[in-house]
Every structure is written in C-alpha cells, then in structure tokens.
Symmetry: C2
Subunit: 397 residues, 2 copies
C-alpha cells in the first residue's frame, strides 16, 4: 500500500525525529536518576502558578456554569464583553486607542497568527523572519502555501539587521515577523529599531504595490528586565498586527487564550478584522475557549511575579559565567542563547545531556553554534546545574 500521509507531512515526520528523541531522552533520564537529579532547561512551560485573579475568575465562572449557554458558542472573534475588556487593557498598556472591533480573540497566539496568515497569504508568497527564530513559524506559513525566508540578526548581539532585511524583500514578500522580547535570544527590540523596520516596510510596500505586513509576536511583552522598555508597534505602522497570548504572563498556556490586535492607523481595518474572523472560524478554532475568555477578563492586568524570573536570570548568568560559557545577557523573556563551547551546538548539547542538563541546539532555531536554555524552572534547579555545565564545558576546553 502507498504511503499513509501526505508527502509534506511525511517529510516533517522524518525531520522532527531529532527533537522527539531529545524529549524522550529527558523522560528516560528522569526515570533513571529521579526528577531532582535532572536539570531540564529544554521547554518553555511556565512553572509559576497562575495569578490569584485567574483562580478567582474561574471560581466565579463556575458559579454560573449551570445556566443555559454558559458554555455556548461565542461570536467567532470572541464574546463582545471580552473583546471590549481586552481592547481597553491593550490601549492602556501600549498607549494606543483600540476599540473592541480592533481585537480578535483566538485559541492562543499561534492560532491568531495562523488566522492572519490564512487571510493574507497567496500560495508561493514569503514570510521573512530574523534568525534565530521560533521554528514553528516554518510550519505556520507552510500551512497556507507560503514559505519562510531567514535573515540573520547581527553577529553575536542578535539585534535586527535592517539592511539585510531590505536586501531580502522581494515582490513575493507578504509579511515580516518579529518576536520581541525574543525567543530564543532574550533580545528586546528598541523603539528606534522598530521605527527603522516600519519605515523600511512602508517604503517597500509602496514599491511592490501590496501591503507587507509586520507581524509582531509578543507573548513575552510583560517580561523585560533592567528597566528595558518594550515599544508598541501599533502606533508606528498601519500594516502592523500584534499577536499575543496570556500563556506566559498568566501562566495559562494549556487553556489556549490569545489574540490579534490591529493598528489604528489602518483605515481598512474593519475589512481585515472581518477576514480574520472568518479565517479564525474556518481554520477550526471557531472561537477562543469560553472558560479562557472568562478567566482572561477576570485577570486582565494581573501577572506572575517578574522578579522571580529576574532572580533566575541572574542565577543562570552566574552559573554560565562560572563555567566559562559565553552569552549575551537576556533583557527579556526567559531564555539564554549562549555560544556552544567548541562551536558544535549538537555535540555540546549532547555533552550537557550526559551531565543530565537539558537544552536545545541552536540548529533548531536556524542558528547553529549556539544553544537555548529556558529558565522557567526553580532557582535551585539552576544553581544545582552548575557542576553539570562545568563538566560539559571542560570537555571542550
């Protein structure tokens, strides 16, 4: 019998086996040595409990959950009261004026992003991402018949290279995606950098004769350190769309609640909103989970304690410095992206795994020679991993 799967998915399966093997190795190590003897920095699954307002909101919803339509469909863009509350919160948080009709609730930032891609991409068109980047973007654009082109960030600093971006843009370019605070590098783009990107895309949109969308994936917006500010792109560029979620700031990744927000500068934003409301429906998200919508409204403005993450960042910086591993100090998000001693990221990550320290090779983010560590784990785990890092480092002296 011929193959079960589509040719594309058959290919994905073959390529994804490396990451699956690492994941299985982690489970194996934990079984063999015990959970507390494995230092797992491989996943961005927030360990802090959800803020109290989330739990209170859930309990309040439960009180009325026995009524008709409590769990009913909401409009495809979200319940009107939830969109209203979200628009107010984003407006206050980012210094813009958004109405309920400018925001779409979806099942996480990933689904909001897919809804936008489905609405604007024609087959064969191109999404540009600065590398290193979150590799799910490759799949997301392929879902809609497009493909992803990588533009390297500036050497070692991982800051956006606007000249390189300009060279990469062609008539096939439909959108550019930026992710700040960045996964995996922890870099936060400055206002000047965002303005430079917007000015370029404004000019290039006119040149190619169609909008080049700027998709800003911002789940880590709340998590910036050292007084670093995360500028809002919404007042800067009419073709900007913000995608985000409450997965990180409310520790809610499993409930799948996120959104898309349109720039108030876009005159035709009602048309785009109608389109992403449709694509949010036809992609099978239908509406953001109703319990998630209630929780979000109850807890808007509350967040987990950023200082916990700050202390972890500093602990990880100590551990890496002591081990003699080079890195750029992250200014946001909860990742380090250090240089792999010896230069071979897969080899170094394998050496770390021998010491029961788990990370992810930079190759998995389009950037070999580096590796990613997620520090959304207890500070003790970070401190206790010092010996493992030192031993692995010694092998590449």
């Amino acid at each position: 019998m011929a193959q079960l799967l589509s040719s594309a998915v058959q290919g994905y399966m073959a390529n994804s086996s490396m990451i699956r093997k690492m994941f299985e190795q982690g489970i194996q190590l934990k079984k063999q040595y015990g959970e507390d003897k494995v230092y797992d920095f491989s996943l961005g699954n927030p360990d802090l409990p959800a803020p109290k307002a989330v739990v209170d909101g859930l309990k309040a919803f439960a009180e009325s959950a026995g009524k008709p339509f409590s769990f009913g469909y909401t409009p495809n863009a979200g319940a009107p009261w939830a969109r209203e509350a979200l628009a107010k919160w984003i407006s206050a948080d980012q210094g813009v004026e958004l109405a309920a009709g400018d925001v779409l609730l979806s099942a996480g930032a990933a689904s909001a992003l897919n809804a936008v891609l489905r609405a604007v991409f024609n087959p064969g068109e191109e999404l540009i991402a600065f590398a290193p980047y979150f590799v799910e973007y490759d799949f997301y654009v392929a879902n809609h018949g497009g493909h992803l082109t990588r533009v390297m960030t500036q050497k070692d600093t991982f800051r956006p290279d606007v000249e390189a971006l300009e060279k990469a843009i062609s008539a096939k370019t439909r959108a550019v995606i930026v992710n700040s605070p960045n996964n995996p590098t922890g870099v936060v783009y400055t206002l000047d950098e965002m303005k430079a990107i917007c000015a370029l895309l404004e000019r290039k949109s006119a040149e190619v004769g169609h909008p080049i969308w700027l998709l800003c994936d911002e789940p880590y917006r709340f998590l910036a350190y050292d007084g670093c500010e995360v500028p809002s792109v919404l007042p800067l560029y009419r073709y900007a769309v913000v995608l985000s979620s409450f997965s990180k700031n409310m520790s809610l990744p499993g409930e799948r609640i996120g959104y898309a927000a349109l720039s108030p500068l876009l005159e035709e934003r009602a048309e785009l909103m109608a389109a992403i409301t449709l694509t949010n429906r036809i992609l099978g998200y239908v509406n953001a989970p109703i319990v998630g919508q209630h929780i979000m409204v109850a807890a808007l403005g509350s967040a987990v304690d950023r200082d916990v993450y700050l202390r972890r960042r500093d602990a990880m910086a100590d551990v890496l410095t002591q081990a003699g591993i080079e890195f750029t100090l992250p200014k946001g998000a909860f990742y380090f992206f250090p240089k792999a001693p010896g230069g071979d990221d897969k080899a170094f990550v394998a050496a770390l795994a021998e010491e029961r320290v788990l990370g992810v090779p930079g190759s998995g983010f389009g950037c070999p020679g580096f590796f990613r560590l997620a520090f959304c784990v207890d500070e003790k785990v970070i401190r206790n991993s010092a010996e493992g890092f030192a031993k692995a480092r010694a092998k590449f002296a």
Copy 2:
C-alpha cells in the same frame, strides 16, 4: 494600494455576505420586536444547560487551579489521563477496543478534522461529501490545498447513494466524509449503508493504490430517536477515522473540546497518530483546552436529556404538518430539512423572516429547494411559531 487580503479569502468574503446579512437581520428583528417575538431556528447552538457532572467537574478543577502547571501545556495529543479515559468511554460506547494511543484530543471536532486533513491531503486532491452537507467542509479541505466534490443523496429521502459515490471516486480522491446523524437532514445511516460504503472504499483504495479515508463526523451520535441505532464505523474499515466533540451531548460548544479516534483495524495507526499529533500542533491548536479536558473526563458518559429534544422534534413536526409543509421526519440530530413551498428556498426563507421565523436556505448546504430549521430552542418557541409558518406557507399556495 492593492487588495489587503489573499485572493482566496477575498472570494470567501464576497460569498459569505448572504449568511452574514441573515444573521444581522435576526439581530435587527429581535431588537425591533423583542426576543420572544422572534422564532429563531437558524443556529445549532444548544440551549440546554451543561449536565451537572460538567459543572461539578469544573468546580473540582477550580479547587486545584492555583497549583503550578494546573493550566500548563499538555502533550499535543492531550493529557495521558484524558486520552485514557476517552478511549475507555468510546470503547464501551461503540463496542470496540481502543487504547489511549488511538485517540487524539483537539479543540473540537472541526480542529480534529482539520488535523487529519492536514496529515493526509496532498494539494489538488479531493474530498467527497454527500449533499446536503455542512458547508464548512468546503473551507476545511481548501485549508489544505484540496477541494470538495458533492455527491447527491437519494431524492427526497437523503439516504446515501453508494452507486453515485462509486462513480464520483477517482485517483484524486483522498477521503470521503459522512455525517450521521446528519446535519441538516436528521438522517441516521444504517449499519448496512455504512458497510456498503466501507466495502466500496476498501475496493477503491486497492484500485487507486492509496488509502481512501472515511472521515465520520459524529457530534450528534448521542441524539437518535425512535429506537434508531447509530452504528460504529471503527470496527468496519481500517481507514475510518471518527471525529466528534462534546459540544452537543454536554452542551459545551464554546469550550472547544473534541477528538479523533482511529480504527483498531489499521496496523499503521501509530504512524497516523504521530502525524495528527504533529498537525494538531502546527495548525496552532497546540493542545485541547486544559479546562475542557478536565471537564470532559469528569463528565464522560453524562449527557443532556434526549427526551427534551424528542419532544421538540415532535412539536416541530406538528407545526410543519399543520402548515402543510412537507418534510422527512428526522431520526437524529436537532434539525428538520423540509421542502421549500414554491420550490425557491431563498424566497421561502425570506417569507418566513417576514413572519419573524428564521431558518437557513438549503442552498447553504448544497441542496436548493429545501430549508433547515434547528430545533435546539424551547418547545414554546416552536409551538408559538405555528402562525408564522402558516402565513408564509399561504403566500406560496
């Protein structure tokens, strides 16, 4: 400036405006005449409250919701405990033996179906559906580069026409979708009909040299009347996949919790499960909403009271009979699909709307000349609509 949207979505927007206008008309009518003076049979949004076990399950989850990882990501196919419970429940309900690894939890039946289509469709391939059918299927297959071909059911009875199906199958056919109990007709396929379809697809799969999947969309499985049985396809055909949700039996459509279940006859089902676990992730569903997973497990086996729907069906049958409108009595689901007096479904639905009775033209289901009425509304609304039906009918005498 060139158009904002992709050419495909631009086309969808133009075509979807008719249904949007009807929806807006409904809101307008309710504002003008009051909610209780409008008889709205246009939407399949269940009005019965969720069963007590759902609310109890939600409250139990809320008690532990303040712990770390309570709202964390689950594996992409669902939490192991939720898959285990679901597999046991389906096994008992359908007389098959499924393991946890044979079921995938997703954000509703729509997302589970999209995950399967993404995994098996190559661009240009074809999904066949018996008409009338749920027109979202057109979008779902277009999402993955395929297209839908309609095969008409048997005249007036809406029973599957297996000979017509055979003629429609070609080397481009990748899957056939059936929906029983059916939306919009209320027809329930018999065991003999399902066996005939399976035997045909078994033979045709061998002929074309690739699996022709049988996708069974079954959200109304629990809702069959008059002692009518809903056969399970899982023990009949190795390439059968069941898609379903708890939207209807637990009145939970807004929380988005559904699943795919694979046939135990498929030897390579681990490969298919790995693929739909991947596609469930890359399509941006990531994992079924965690609160929904908890609720589902707490309430498996409970359902809303079927007898309420049965009484409504009988009330609607009375109303239509008195008005002199022809129909086939539905044996399942909560829809009537009567003949439009005068033959023009859009004209008759417009005449109904003038009497503040809302339905949907059969054209919206690939079957002009009929119209759909959803009876998931209070029995009083059905009884009180009698005058409206009679008046509209009189205009087409």
